[in-house]
């Protein structure tokens, strides 16, 4: 993976500025876990590209010492796919919020999973639009009161876990950002996995979503590892993912290790190495072949 062998600590992955998130925001835990995962996997900052959209959570690339792209609202997965397809030597991590990924970016979410692009996608799911000061999101619960649903939402939420599995993602996990160790392990698994990995993280917005607070999750999350869940069993995974009550499951829901190749492996053009490293236009032979077909 790297030519240097200097072990980096999570601190070495600290970005140039400190996060401007509200004190207590769940996103701090996600940032921590990402920095720990990169360090524990022995990665170097220049080998990673962190790509986000727009939102409180999407500010993350500015706070981590890796190559980064803070792209348009909802477009992180499209941009990240472009980066990965152009240079698959890079480790590409997409980060963002529930609105960014499941709302405005929903079409890309569906198709990036379907294509099994070798990306790690970490969604800071606070069930609210944080940056725009608290409107309903695609993961807000029915009945939830927000600034745009002052009388309670009348729409059902999306289930990111079942959606990802149905769309073809090959590594699907959920975590709570208050348990950084557990989240770090799940992110590491996602980075190691060859294929599209979703880690949906309950990352409370302490300012605009008081319904789904740290206390709410602390009281409810149950680890799948303790439940004897079989990560090959997509149907069981979906059933566990639907649970939303006194018990809410976190952990690795689904993992398809070998049965589905990633887009990098499936794309014949990539067999000769990253396309970004191929400079230049056409060779004589290629030009000849093209003109022959036109005659």
């Amino acid at each position: 993976m790297t030519t240097t062998t200097i072990e980096l600590t999570p601190k070495d992955f600290k970005g140039k500025v400190d996060p401007d998130w509200c004190p207590g925001c769940g996103d701090f835990g996600v940032l921590n876990a990402l920095q720990r995962a990169a360090s524990e996997l022995g990665m170097q900052p220049h080998e990673i590209v962190t790509v986000s959209g727009i939102g409180c959570s999407s500010n993350l690339p500015g706070y981590i010492n890796t190559y980064g792209a803070h792209t348009l609202h909802g477009r992180s997965l499209a941009f990240a796919t472009g980066v990965k397809m152009a240079n698959h030597d890079l480790n590409v991590i997409a980060t963002g919020g529930d609105g960014d990924g499941y709302g405005i970016g929903g079409n890309h979410f569906t198709h990036t999973a379907r294509r099994n692009v070798d990306l790690t996608y970490v969604v800071m799911n606070n069930q609210i639009y944080g940056l725009t000061t608290g409107q309903v999101s695609p993961t807000s619960r029915i009945g939830q009161k927000t600034k745009s649903t002052p009388f309670g939402s009348v729409e059902y939420p999306i289930n990111p876990i079942t959606s990802a599995i149905m769309n073809g993602a090959t590594y699907v996990a959920r975590a709570y950002s208050g348990d950084v160790k557990h989240l770090t392990d799940l992110i590491k698994g996602g980075i190691r996995h060859k294929g599209f990995a979703l880690i949906d993280v309950f990352s409370p917005c302490v300012t605009f979503n008081l319904d789904n607070s740290h206390n709410f999750f602390k009281a409810r999350v149950r680890k799948l590892e303790d439940e004897g869940h079989d990560t090959d069993d997509w149907a069981a995974a979906c059933e566990k993912a639907m649970a939303w009550g006194d018990e809410i499951y976190v952990g690795k829901f689904f993992h398809m290790e070998n049965d589905k190749e990633s887009l990098t492996d499936l794309e014949p053009v990539l067999r000769d190495g990253p396309i970004a490293k191929r400079q230049g236009g056409l060779t004589e032979e290629q030009a000849d072949r093209i003109i022959q077909r036109m005659m």
């Binding site: 727009i54 500015g62 190559y67 792209t71 348009l72 397809m85 053009v269 290629q286 036109m294 005659m295």
Partner: protein, 593 residues
């Protein structure tokens, strides 16, 4: 015998599903192999079966700059075609048709009717697409061409389907040829031998090939007429050329994906039409803000909205000028013909790489879906490739690396992700030299101003990187015809027609829209009576030109019925406007296709 003036147009008309493309292609190849020039225009609708399709193929010894306005040979594959077009044939023209199904109606004086009793002469009970082959055989006789040329073509075309299919096709073609020999009078001027064999391409293929020659390594698209030909070319050729092609879920995804691929260092391009382009626009602004070079092609069709998917228009100039929120610079260029489209792609990539910004190509259905002859020698397969200021991958970082370093030129060397020692972020939020966001943490009016000026400074001398347009034709002409993009060729032909009518005109064909050579254009047009020719209703270019130069045209010739200009539409308009007091002339499309 000819004197280099052979100029012949034939048309094949029928409904979708009658296989018009195949005889059109066969003929185009025979003609191009003979070294004759050709230009084809296909009038069609967005349906798979039915409707009316009308393919015009113009063939000449000299280069052909438009599909022209006259018709020498009509092949009517159904009654509808006969009814629509026969009345437009003049003396000396001929109409070919399957007399089992089609009856001619009243033909003009001197028009030769050439009925083909297809069942009788082929001995077939059921005739399908075979009737096209029979007609091709008859055409060979009318055009004074050796039957063996068609035989060779058929053998190539059906080689994969086996000997039996080849033989059957040759048999029915010969039936048509023999029947024609016995019954029809060939044209007085047989089709001459031209020079060296020519190749055939469409404008879309030219755009795609231009990308390949420019070193495009990532092409993405979502299908949309009339741009899909670019995707098809890449799909067919990309693998053998080491290029990645992706069909993406929507144009928003397409645009953001190519920006991502370009950020990682691949030359990346996409093509769409106006509707898809509208979806791409936010990403075009993102490419500008993040300073990532990439190329977006908009093959215009008649709008607004879904519009007329299979008809041409120059209606997206203002969309391109203003694509995306915010106040920023981008290149916008409208190639003048297929070869120019080919050459424009590498030129634009070099400019985009140099100034680290997005580039937009405005093609249209007319250029993109037309098919043209091209001499292989005229295609520069190895254009210069200049990737602009890039940090060497092996470069040690000489201290702190600032992605958006505020340099005198405004250009800051780009380090590609993966380069050790140059870790940085790129952001669609406004940012400082080190990519720290100005919007979320604090806004700083001085820093914001500096960032805006840094990006704008890159464009200060952009016009000097590009050749300005020039007046072509007699300096003392009565009128100057000004066009942009695809109208260049048809304007040139209109000028020839005007000369025959005793009106002298010259031409100013504008290709680069941003940067616009406002000073040069103003100097060229000052004191001249100029008429702007464009394929839209509101005079988008006329208004743009006035805003940039203060110049108002004497008159305007505009067409917005979906069909392209024929030379006489423009010549009629210019004559009319010069005879009056200027204004707007809108030619009437004679043929309903």
């Amino acid at each position: 015998m000819t004197n280099g003036n052979f100029d012949f147009a034939l048309a094949i008309g029928g409904s979708a599903g009658q296989g018009i493309a195949t005889p059109g292609d066969t003929l185009a190849r025979i003609v191009a192999r003979r070294g004759l020039h050709l230009s084809t225009y296909n009038a069609y609708q967005s349906i798979i079966r039915g409707g009316h399709i009308f393919l015009t193929v113009r063939i000449a010894e000299q280069e052909v700059r438009s599909h022209g306005d006259k018709l020498d040979l009509l092949l009517a594959l159904n009654q509808d075609t006969m009814d629509r077009h026969l009345r437009l044939l003049g003396s000396g023209a001929a109409a070919l048709y399957n007399s089992d199904d089609v009856s001619p109606g009243d033909a003009g004086d001197g028009v030769q009717l050439c009925p083909l009793p297809v069942k009788e002469i082929t001995g077939l009970q059921r005739v399908g697409l075979n009737q096209n082959t029979v007609a091709l055989g008859a055409m060979m006789h009318l055009l004074g061409l050796d039957f063996s040329l068609l035989e060779t073509s058929i053998a190539q075309q059906f080689a994969r389907k086996g000997e039996e299919v080849v033989n059957e096709n040759v048999r029915v073609a010969l039936a048509g040829y023999t029947h024609a020999q016995e019954n029809f009078v060939p044209y007085p001027d047989p089709m001459p031998e031209g020079g060296e064999p020519l190749a055939v391409w469409s404008g879309n293929e030219a755009l795609a090939m231009g990308g390949a020659a420019a070193g495009v390594k990532f092409y993405a698209a979502y299908p949309m007429s009339p741009s899909t030909g670019v995707l098809h070319w890449y799909a067919q050729n990309a693998r053998s050329l080491g290029i990645m092609v992706r069909q993406v879920e929507d144009e928003i995804g397409v645009a953001n994906m190519i920006v991502g691929a370009a950020h990682a260092g691949a030359r990346a391009m996409c093509a769409t039409s106006g509707g898809g382009f509208a979806l791409m626009t936010e990403a075009i602004g993102a490419a500008s803000m993040m300073e990532i070079p990439c190329v977006f092609i908009n093959v215009q069709r008649a709008g607004p909205s879904t519009g007329v998917p299979t008809k041409t228009e120059q209606g997206d100039l203002w969309q391109a000028l203003g694509a995306s929120q915010g106040d920023f610079e981008r290149f916008v260029v409208s190639p003048l013909d297929a070869l120019d489209a080919y050459n424009t792609v590498p030129e634009l990539f070099n400019l985009a790489d140099k100034l680290q910004c997005p580039g937009i190509i405005l093609s249209d259905l007319l250029i993109s879906e037309g098919r043209y002859s091209i001499h292989p020698r005229d295609i520069e397969f190895h254009p210069a490739i200049d990737r602009g200021a890039l940090v060497d991958e092996g470069a040690a970082s000489g201290g702190e690396y600032l992605r958006y370093k505020d340099t005198p030129s405004g250009v800051s060397p780009r380090a590609l992700p993966g380069t050790p020692g140059h870790v940085h972020i790129v952001a669609t939020d406004e940012h400082d030299e080190d990519s720290m966001l100005l919007s979320d943490e604090f806004t700083n009016p001085h820093r914001r101003r500096a960032s805006v000026e840094k990006r704008a400074r890159k464009f200060q001398d952009a016009a000097s990187l590009i050749a300005p347009p020039e007046i072509e034709g007699p300096a003392d002409a009565e009128a100057t015809l000004v066009g942009w993009g695809s109208t260049a060729g048809v304007i040139a032909e209109a000028i020839e027609q005007l000369a025959e009518r005793g009106v002298t005109a010259n031409r100013l064909a504008v290709k680069w829209l941003i940067p616009l050579h406002a000073e040069e254009i103003a100097a060229a047009l000052s004191g001249r009576k100029f008429i702007i020719v464009e394929n839209n209703y509101s005079g988008q270019f006329a208004r743009y030109l006035r805003s940039e130069t203060g110049l108002s045209a004497y008159g305007h010739v505009r067409k917005y019925d979906g069909e392209p200009f024929a030379p006489h539409h423009i010549a009629d308009g210019v004559a009319d406007l010069l005879g009056g007091e200027g204004g707007v002339f809108v030619p009437r499309q004679e043929v309903i296709v």
